[in-house]
Symmetry: C2
Subunit: 199 residues, 2 copies
């Protein structure tokens, strides 16, 4: 006698997908492996997710929410006793730390192919993560006398680029050379970049 009702297979598949992702990596995750891990037949996921992309998109949505929460927590912790620049550095470190604690999930979130990045909900939650990371940029621009909507948006873009780019590089280093000591130290002080790029 087979169990025809799992209880909450949708959630079970998401948990299984997360596990398979961590075991086999972003490229090794398959719909059938997720189904097997959840203890159901290979075709069962179809009834809860339209496709593999659908399952991974949903997993990415959940991950972005966690990610945003982690960024928010780090931002709210060091409140008034730090300078705005220090808080930006802290935000960058939180970004990096999340990626290092959930490397495969992070790679999935920013994978170019697997999840559907045109999905509305995914766009929304990734936008929220972006907003959370760049939350300190606006006041920092005010402080430095940078005005104009366009300049502020460019500042946000560049801040995100720097932090995300460094995180991307760290993950690649981790893949090739294993865990490195430099990573526990967090991001390099971005003030160095400031010295290099100051007008």
């Amino acid at each position: 006698m087979n169990d025809y009702h799992h209880g909450d297979l949708r959630q079970g598949l998401l948990v299984a997908a997360h596990a398979v992702l961590n075991e086999k990596g972003v490229h090794g995750v398959s719909l059938r492996a997720c189904a097997a891990k959840a203890g159901v037949s290979h075709a069962a996921p179809t009834h809860h997710f339209k496709s593999l992309s659908g399952l991974l998109t949903e997993l990415a949505v959940i991950a972005f929410k966690d990610f945003t929460a982690a960024l928010r927590l780090a931002y709210d912790e060091g409140d008034a006793k730090h300078t705005l620049q220090q808080r930006l550095q802290t935000a960058g470190n939180a970004y990096l730390q999340y990626a290092l604690s959930e490397p495969e999930l992070f790679k999935l979130m920013f994978s170019s192919a697997l999840p559907d990045h045109s999905n509305d909900r995914l766009c929304e939650v990734s936008g929220q993560a972006y907003a959370e990371l760049t939350r300190v940029v606006k006041p920092l621009c005010d402080e430095r006398g940078i005005t104009g909507k366009e300049s502020i948006e460019q500042a946000e873009l560049l801040v995100w680029s720097t932090i995300h780019g460094y995180t991307h590089l760290s993950l690649k280093q981790m893949d090739v050379h294993g865990v490195c000591d430099d990573m526990k130290a967090g991001m390099p002080p971005m003030v160095i970049l400031g010295a290099l790029l100051q007008p």
Copy 2:
């Protein structure tokens, strides 16, 4: 009567792989599709490349060489008549422009899964691209009074992170929303970031 000798199938497969990459995207490239495009049976590539990963690794190696050449050209063009900071901005623009001109190839180069990033030759050519991009950083550090090997290396890392991160973001925007007007303008002026991060 079948042709049992292609002439230069190795090169033919690399050309075919590039074509398939541009047609189907990074995730859509398959060994069998490359073989079909090259006009040979699906198992022929095995004798020239150990696997799909081997073929794509070789393609990435070639791409990195082109990439490095493009960066070097841009660097050598604007020589003495620009400030070091302007030359850094130029290098960043060249980085972005290559990615926008060969988006799928660029994505392949930095794809976490498909090519073998522990491959010695791939490590070497990607290292050369990195060195070319950050070539201006050392003299810029001298100019700004940044000394110490570690600080200079951190500066290089942060510069690469900013430029690569912005490029990554632009490609994602291109995937989701199509070609955008902002891209032809190149990178935002990194001096904005300097104003934000100055000590």
